[in-house]
């Protein structure tokens, strides 16, 4: 699964990569506009796939379920940018953030603000595994989930060591996901993906 590496290598060799600052300038100067559903991944501006109804339903389930579980000091965020490093600003489907009084009006959440990210995958499963998960591991995220809609499974990645998650566990439809890092977070797979 070296797709992510391939992107990074071939493109650092040849393609002009962009920084988060340059990416923000493109938004300010309307080179990129609201209609552009994009994220910055390893210096490349990437189009996000159109959200299908099953993907949308899964997201709705998560953002309606999580408020009942979460403690007061956690903010639930959906499909908003998080700034990981100089060259990456993805938009995970769900991010659980440390509470901040301004709700991150001053700046996008950084890795140290992020407790958990969840990516919902249908057609994007290979890309999420190959590109997003290593990026999140490199950013030192404690935990990341992929909800695999097609196979009705949840993959839970944790224990990042030197840019890789060293613990991976897949939960099937009849199981309950227990977060390895957030003791309050226990979710039946069937309540997220039907």
């Amino acid at each position: 699964m070296a797709v992510e590496e391939t992107v990074a290598e071939t493109t650092t060799a040849k393609q002009r990569l962009f920084t988060v600052d340059e990416y923000h300038r493109m938004i300010e100067t309307a080179i990129l506009h609201e209609d552009d559903r994009v994220e910055l991944i390893n210096g490349i501006i990437v189009e996000m796939p159109a959200v299908g109804s099953r993907h949308a339903a899964c997201l709705k389930r998560l953002i309606n379920l999580l408020p009942y579980l979460k403690p007061q000091d956690v903010i639930i965020d959906a499909q908003n940018p998080v700034q990981l490093d100089e060259r990456s600003e993805p938009q995970p489907d769900v991010a659980l953030l440390r509470h901040r009084a301004d709700f991150y009006a001053g700046s996008h959440p950084r890795p140290e603000d992020i407790l958990l990210v969840i990516e919902i995958s249908d057609t994007s499963l290979a890309t999420d595994r190959a590109d997003k998960i290593p990026l999140y591991a490199r950013s030192g995220f404690a935990e990341a989930w992929i909800v695999d809609i097609s196979h009705r499974r949840v993959e839970v990645y944790s224990k990042p060591v030197e840019g890789r998650f060293t613990s991976i566990r897949a939960y099937e439809q009849n199981e309950t996901v227990e977060s390895p890092t957030l003791d309050w977070l226990k979710v039946a797979v069937i309540s997220i993906v039907e």
């Binding site: 797709v3 391939t6 992107v7 071939t10 493109t11 060799a13 040849k14 393609q15 002009r16 962009f18 340059e22 300038r25 493109m26 100067t29 080179i31 990129l32 552009d36 994009v38 991944i41 490349i44 501006i45 990437v46 189009e47 796939p49 290979a126 890309t127 190959a130 590109d131």
Partner: protein
Amino acid sequence: MAVEETIVEDTTATLKQRLFTVDEYHRMGEVGILDEDDRVELINGVIVEMSPLGGPHIRCVAHINRLLSDFTTPTTILSIQSSIRLDNASEPEPDVVLLRYDRQTFGNDVPPAEDVLLLIEVSDSTLSVDRKVKVPMYAQSGIPETWIVDVVHKRIEVYSQPNEGRYDNVRVYERGETIESPTVTGFSATVNEIVD
């Protein structure tokens, strides 16, 4: 070594890259996202960095410059390592282009593909990309004649008769041979004059 090919084809298969138009590319220059230090060109919507030029490459371009300068007329002009606009997604900087010239209008905008009479790319490390990405792109834009000067193997590939994204006529000239341009009437050069 199909680095750029990988970018343009394989990468987009996994991550669907946001491609840029020529207008967006120019806006990046205007607002300072891309600046003078950026040696870049826009190839099929992707902003690509150009390789640094080595001595043999510079020498070769200079020799072509001299040869073609002698050949220009009041209605043609030579442009060296400057942009041409192919379509809405590509604005490359070929090493040498022979362009139609009209003092009133020339350079009001980036010269379009229609004004290109002959285009020459000098290749050392970029041979594979030039052949697989650039030549088809030039054919697609209807550029009547393209040369690839292969500095490493000291030979010149001459492409003409563009037809739906490829050139129907390709001829390779080795050292000691003389190229007679198939489309630029009266222009000929020996391989040795260009690459030695």
